[in-house]
Amino acid sequence: MKYSIIGDEDTVLGFGIVGVSGKVALNADQAQRAFQAILEDNETSIIIITERVADMIRPMVDKYLFTVGFPLIVEIPDRNGTKPDRPGIKEMVNKAIGIKL
Protein backbone atom coordinates (compact mmCIF):
# COMPACT_ATOMS: atom_id res chain seq x y z
CA MET A 1 0.00 0.00 0.00
CA LYS A 2 1.25 3.49 -0.70
CA TYR A 3 0.55 7.18 -0.54
CA SER A 4 -0.91 9.18 -3.40
CA ILE A 5 -1.18 12.89 -3.66
CA ILE A 6 -3.63 15.25 -5.30
CA GLY A 7 -2.62 18.87 -5.36
CA ASP A 8 -1.22 21.73 -7.34
CA GLU A 9 1.83 21.33 -9.54
CA ASP A 10 4.43 22.30 -6.95
CA THR A 11 3.08 20.07 -4.23
CA VAL A 12 2.94 17.09 -6.54
CA LEU A 13 6.49 17.81 -7.68
CA GLY A 14 7.73 18.05 -4.12
CA PHE A 15 6.23 14.75 -3.08
CA GLY A 16 7.40 13.28 -6.36
CA ILE A 17 10.96 13.71 -5.13
CA VAL A 18 10.31 11.18 -2.39
CA GLY A 19 8.57 8.76 -4.67
CA VAL A 20 4.92 9.55 -4.00
CA SER A 21 2.90 9.34 -7.19
CA GLY A 22 0.50 12.18 -7.64
CA LYS A 23 -2.06 13.84 -9.81
CA VAL A 24 -2.25 17.53 -10.51
CA ALA A 25 -5.67 19.07 -10.07
CA LEU A 26 -6.37 22.70 -10.80
CA ASN A 27 -10.17 22.74 -10.86
CA ALA A 28 -13.04 20.80 -9.38
CA ASP A 29 -13.48 18.64 -12.46
CA GLN A 30 -9.86 17.51 -12.51
CA ALA A 31 -9.89 17.01 -8.76
CA GLN A 32 -12.90 14.75 -8.98
CA ARG A 33 -11.38 12.71 -11.78
CA ALA A 34 -8.07 12.38 -9.95
CA PHE A 35 -9.83 11.33 -6.77
CA GLN A 36 -11.89 8.73 -8.62
CA ALA A 37 -8.83 7.37 -10.39
CA ILE A 38 -6.96 6.93 -7.12
CA LEU A 39 -9.96 5.24 -5.54
CA GLU A 40 -10.10 2.78 -8.40
CA ASP A 41 -6.52 1.58 -8.18
CA ASN A 42 -6.47 -0.39 -4.98
CA GLU A 43 -2.84 0.32 -4.21
CA THR A 44 -3.39 3.56 -2.37
CA SER A 45 -4.26 3.50 1.27
CA ILE A 46 -3.61 7.13 2.18
CA ILE A 47 -4.53 10.03 -0.05
CA ILE A 48 -2.68 13.24 0.65
CA ILE A 49 -4.72 16.14 -0.61
CA THR A 50 -4.08 19.85 -0.40
CA GLU A 51 -6.68 21.86 1.45
CA ARG A 52 -7.49 23.95 -1.57
CA VAL A 53 -8.19 20.89 -3.70
CA ALA A 54 -10.10 19.21 -0.88
CA ASP A 55 -12.39 22.23 -0.69
CA MET A 56 -13.25 21.78 -4.36
CA ILE A 57 -14.64 18.31 -3.75
CA ARG A 58 -15.62 18.72 -0.09
CA PRO A 59 -18.61 16.29 -0.08
CA MET A 60 -16.54 13.43 -1.50
CA VAL A 61 -13.69 14.04 0.90
CA ASP A 62 -15.95 14.23 3.93
CA LYS A 63 -17.62 10.99 2.95
CA TYR A 64 -14.31 9.17 3.27
CA LEU A 65 -13.16 11.11 6.32
CA PHE A 66 -16.08 10.17 8.49
CA THR A 67 -16.93 6.66 7.39
CA VAL A 68 -14.93 3.61 8.28
CA GLY A 69 -13.82 3.00 4.71
CA PHE A 70 -10.51 3.06 2.95
CA PRO A 71 -8.54 4.93 1.76
CA LEU A 72 -7.69 7.34 4.53
CA ILE A 73 -7.47 10.98 3.64
CA VAL A 74 -5.19 13.59 5.09
CA GLU A 75 -5.31 17.23 4.19
CA ILE A 76 -2.20 19.35 4.09
CA PRO A 77 -1.66 23.04 3.45
CA ASP A 78 -0.14 23.85 0.06
CA ARG A 79 2.75 26.15 -0.78
CA ASN A 80 0.82 29.25 0.19
CA GLY A 81 0.20 28.02 3.72
CA THR A 82 -3.01 27.29 5.56
CA LYS A 83 -6.05 29.35 4.87
CA PRO A 84 -6.52 31.62 7.88
CA ASP A 85 -10.22 30.85 8.30
CA ARG A 86 -9.68 27.11 8.32
CA PRO A 87 -11.11 25.38 11.43
CA GLY A 88 -8.47 23.58 13.47
CA ILE A 89 -8.92 20.03 14.70
CA LYS A 90 -10.25 21.27 18.03
CA GLU A 91 -12.93 23.40 16.42
CA MET A 92 -13.90 20.51 14.16
CA VAL A 93 -14.34 18.27 17.18
CA ASN A 94 -16.22 20.90 19.12
CA LYS A 95 -18.56 21.40 16.21
CA ALA A 96 -19.07 17.67 15.77
CA ILE A 97 -19.97 16.84 19.34
CA GLY A 98 -21.18 20.18 20.63
CA ILE A 99 -19.05 20.23 23.76
CA LYS A 100 -15.90 22.11 24.55
CA LEU A 101 -12.76 20.11 25.23
Binding site: M1, K2, G14, I17, I46, L72, R79, A96
Partner: protein, 217 residues
Protein backbone atom coordinates in the same frame (compact mmCIF):
# COMPACT_ATOMS: atom_id res chain seq x y z
CA UNK B 1 -48.64 10.40 26.59
CA UNK B 2 -47.12 7.03 27.12
CA UNK B 3 -49.45 5.74 29.78
CA UNK B 4 -52.54 5.48 27.59
CA UNK B 5 -50.96 2.86 25.38
CA UNK B 6 -51.19 0.25 28.08
CA UNK B 7 -54.20 -1.27 29.77
CA UNK B 8 -53.72 -1.01 33.53
CA UNK B 9 -53.20 -4.67 34.26
CA UNK B 10 -50.73 -6.52 36.43
CA UNK B 11 -49.10 -8.19 33.40
CA UNK B 12 -48.42 -4.87 31.77
CA UNK B 13 -47.04 -3.51 35.01
CA UNK B 14 -44.53 -6.35 35.26
CA UNK B 15 -43.57 -5.96 31.62
CA UNK B 16 -43.06 -2.22 31.95
CA UNK B 17 -41.00 -2.62 35.08
CA UNK B 18 -38.70 -4.99 33.21
CA UNK B 19 -38.45 -2.55 30.33
CA UNK B 20 -37.60 0.23 32.73
CA UNK B 21 -34.85 -1.80 34.35
CA UNK B 22 -33.44 -2.64 30.92
CA UNK B 23 -33.50 0.99 29.85
CA UNK B 24 -31.72 2.06 33.00
CA UNK B 25 -29.02 -0.56 32.51
CA UNK B 26 -28.59 0.56 28.91
CA UNK B 27 -28.34 4.14 30.04
CA UNK B 28 -25.62 3.33 32.52
CA UNK B 29 -23.60 1.41 29.95
CA UNK B 30 -23.92 4.11 27.31
CA UNK B 31 -23.00 6.74 29.85
CA UNK B 32 -19.81 4.85 30.63
CA UNK B 33 -19.10 4.44 26.93
CA UNK B 34 -19.54 8.14 26.40
CA UNK B 35 -17.14 8.99 29.19
CA UNK B 36 -14.48 6.59 27.97
CA UNK B 37 -14.75 7.90 24.42
CA UNK B 38 -14.47 11.50 25.55
CA UNK B 39 -11.38 10.74 27.64
CA UNK B 40 -9.79 8.99 24.66
CA UNK B 41 -10.74 11.86 22.39
CA UNK B 42 -9.35 14.50 24.70
CA UNK B 43 -6.00 12.77 24.92
CA UNK B 44 -5.85 12.50 21.15
CA UNK B 45 -6.92 16.00 20.25
CA UNK B 46 -3.97 17.63 21.97
CA UNK B 47 -1.57 15.20 20.38
CA UNK B 48 -3.10 15.84 16.97
CA UNK B 49 -2.87 19.59 17.31
CA UNK B 50 0.78 19.20 18.22
CA UNK B 51 1.49 16.99 15.20
CA UNK B 52 -0.41 19.35 12.95
CA UNK B 53 1.88 22.18 14.00
CA UNK B 54 4.97 20.09 13.44
CA UNK B 55 3.75 19.03 10.03
CA UNK B 56 3.00 22.58 9.01
CA UNK B 57 6.47 23.71 10.00
CA UNK B 58 8.10 20.80 8.21
CA UNK B 59 6.00 21.41 5.10
CA UNK B 60 6.82 25.11 5.04
CA UNK B 61 10.53 24.24 5.16
CA UNK B 62 10.16 21.59 2.50
CA UNK B 63 8.29 23.92 0.15
CA UNK B 64 10.94 26.54 0.66
CA UNK B 65 13.69 24.08 -0.23
CA UNK B 66 11.75 22.93 -3.27
CA UNK B 67 11.37 26.49 -4.44
CA UNK B 68 15.11 27.01 -4.18
CA UNK B 69 15.71 23.80 -6.09
CA UNK B 70 13.43 24.91 -8.88
CA UNK B 71 15.11 28.32 -9.03
CA UNK B 72 18.46 26.62 -9.27
CA UNK B 73 17.80 23.86 -11.74
CA UNK B 74 14.53 24.59 -13.45
CA UNK B 75 11.28 22.75 -13.01
CA UNK B 76 11.78 20.40 -15.91
CA UNK B 77 15.06 19.05 -14.64
CA UNK B 78 13.63 18.51 -11.18
CA UNK B 79 10.78 16.66 -12.76
CA UNK B 80 13.18 14.41 -14.67
CA UNK B 81 15.07 13.70 -11.50
CA UNK B 82 11.93 12.64 -9.63
CA UNK B 83 11.85 9.75 -12.04
CA UNK B 84 15.34 8.80 -10.94
CA UNK B 85 14.54 8.71 -7.26
CA UNK B 86 13.97 5.12 -6.45
CA UNK B 87 12.34 5.35 -3.08
CA UNK B 88 9.24 3.47 -2.10
CA UNK B 89 7.09 3.95 0.91
CA UNK B 90 5.25 1.00 2.28
CA UNK B 91 2.33 1.62 4.58
CA UNK B 92 0.98 -0.99 6.91
CA UNK B 93 -2.41 -0.29 8.35
CA UNK B 94 -3.69 -2.18 11.30
CA UNK B 95 -6.77 -1.29 13.24
CA UNK B 96 -7.29 -0.69 16.90
CA UNK B 97 -10.69 -0.88 18.48
CA UNK B 98 -11.90 1.50 21.13
CA UNK B 99 -15.44 0.85 22.31
CA UNK B 100 -16.43 -0.66 19.01
CA UNK B 101 -14.89 2.07 16.87
CA UNK B 102 -12.10 0.85 14.66
CA UNK B 103 -9.22 3.28 14.49
CA UNK B 104 -6.32 2.95 12.09
CA UNK B 105 -2.75 2.45 13.21
CA UNK B 106 -0.35 3.37 10.47
CA UNK B 107 3.26 2.37 10.05
CA UNK B 108 5.34 3.82 7.28
CA UNK B 109 8.47 2.12 6.03
CA UNK B 110 10.92 3.59 3.58
CA UNK B 111 12.93 1.55 1.16
CA UNK B 112 15.75 3.59 -0.28
CA UNK B 113 18.30 2.82 -2.90
CA UNK B 114 20.46 5.92 -2.67
CA UNK B 115 22.25 7.53 -4.42
CA UNK B 116 19.72 8.37 -7.08
CA UNK B 117 21.55 10.90 -9.16
CA UNK B 118 24.98 12.25 -9.69
CA UNK B 119 25.94 15.00 -7.30
CA UNK B 120 27.49 16.72 -10.31
CA UNK B 121 25.19 19.23 -11.91
CA UNK B 122 22.45 18.95 -9.31
CA UNK B 123 21.72 21.58 -6.76
CA UNK B 124 22.46 21.05 -3.12
CA UNK B 125 18.89 22.19 -2.51
CA UNK B 126 17.66 19.06 -4.19
CA UNK B 127 19.24 16.93 -1.50
CA UNK B 128 17.85 19.08 1.24
CA UNK B 129 14.34 19.08 -0.21
CA UNK B 130 14.53 15.31 -0.55
CA UNK B 131 15.38 15.02 3.11
CA UNK B 132 12.74 17.49 4.15
CA UNK B 133 9.95 15.86 2.17
CA UNK B 134 10.91 12.53 3.64
CA UNK B 135 10.51 14.09 7.06
CA UNK B 136 7.09 15.38 6.05
CA UNK B 137 6.04 11.95 4.87
CA UNK B 138 7.03 10.40 8.18
CA UNK B 139 4.96 12.94 10.08
CA UNK B 140 2.07 12.52 7.67
CA UNK B 141 1.64 8.86 8.50
CA UNK B 142 1.30 9.59 12.19
CA UNK B 143 -0.85 12.65 11.63
CA UNK B 144 -3.31 10.89 9.36
CA UNK B 145 -3.63 8.12 11.93
CA UNK B 146 -4.42 10.62 14.67
CA UNK B 147 -6.65 12.85 12.60
CA UNK B 148 -8.78 10.04 11.26
CA UNK B 149 -9.05 8.56 14.74
CA UNK B 150 -10.17 11.87 16.19
CA UNK B 151 -12.80 12.42 13.53
CA UNK B 152 -14.19 8.91 13.89
CA UNK B 153 -14.20 9.08 17.67
CA UNK B 154 -15.96 12.44 17.53
CA UNK B 155 -18.59 10.93 15.26
CA UNK B 156 -19.09 8.04 17.68
CA UNK B 157 -19.26 10.38 20.68
CA UNK B 158 -21.94 12.36 18.92
CA UNK B 159 -23.97 9.22 18.27
CA UNK B 160 -23.55 8.03 21.85
CA UNK B 161 -24.54 11.38 23.31
CA UNK B 162 -27.70 11.29 21.22
CA UNK B 163 -28.55 7.80 22.48
CA UNK B 164 -27.81 8.71 26.10
CA UNK B 165 -30.00 11.78 25.85
CA UNK B 166 -32.83 9.87 24.21
CA UNK B 167 -32.80 7.35 27.03
CA UNK B 168 -32.40 9.92 29.78
CA UNK B 169 -34.86 12.51 28.57
CA UNK B 170 -37.53 10.46 26.80
CA UNK B 171 -37.47 6.68 27.22
CA UNK B 172 -36.85 6.45 30.97
CA UNK B 173 -39.24 9.23 32.09
CA UNK B 174 -41.93 7.81 29.76
CA UNK B 175 -41.59 4.35 31.23
CA UNK B 176 -41.55 5.70 34.77
CA UNK B 177 -44.72 7.62 34.06
CA UNK B 178 -46.42 4.51 32.66
CA UNK B 179 -45.39 2.38 35.61
CA UNK B 180 -46.62 5.02 38.03
CA UNK B 181 -49.93 5.36 36.19
CA UNK B 182 -50.59 1.63 36.10
CA UNK B 183 -49.61 1.24 39.73
CA UNK B 184 -51.98 3.96 40.88
CA UNK B 185 -54.79 2.58 38.75
CA UNK B 186 -54.28 -0.88 40.25
CA UNK B 187 -54.27 0.55 43.77
CA UNK B 188 -57.40 2.54 42.99
CA UNK B 189 -59.12 -0.66 41.83
CA UNK B 190 -58.00 -2.43 44.96
CA UNK B 191 -59.49 0.30 47.16
CA UNK B 192 -62.71 0.17 45.14
CA UNK B 193 -62.92 -3.56 45.70
CA UNK B 194 -62.16 -3.14 49.38
CA UNK B 195 -64.97 -0.62 49.87
CA UNK B 196 -67.33 -2.81 47.88
CA UNK B 197 -66.53 -5.78 50.05
CA UNK B 198 -67.04 -3.71 53.19
CA UNK B 199 -70.42 -2.57 51.93
CA UNK B 200 -71.48 -6.10 51.03
CA UNK B 201 -70.35 -7.31 54.43
CA UNK B 202 -72.25 -4.46 56.11
CA UNK B 203 -75.41 -5.27 54.17
CA UNK B 204 -75.15 -8.92 54.98
CA UNK B 205 -74.64 -8.15 58.66
CA UNK B 206 -77.67 -5.82 58.68
CA UNK B 207 -79.78 -8.50 57.02
CA UNK B 208 -78.50 -11.09 59.49
CA UNK B 209 -79.35 -8.83 62.48
CA UNK B 210 -82.88 -8.22 61.16
CA UNK B 211 -83.42 -11.93 60.64
CA UNK B 212 -82.30 -12.59 64.22
CA UNK B 213 -84.69 -9.94 65.58
CA UNK B 214 -87.55 -11.52 63.61
CA UNK B 215 -86.65 -14.92 65.04
CA UNK B 216 -86.76 -13.60 68.58
CA UNK B 217 -90.18 -12.06 68.03
Amino acid sequence: MAQFNYAPTKTNLLKLRNDLKFAQQGYELLDQKRNILIIELMAMVDQTADFQNRLENALAKAYKALEETVFDMGKLKVQYLTGAVNMTTEITIRSRRVMGVSLPVIETEFTEHAPYYSPMGTSFWLDSSLGLFKEVLKLLGKLSELKISVLRLAQEVKKTIRKVNALEKIAIPGLEESVHYIQSRLEENERDMFILMKMVKGNLEKKGAKAMEKDRE
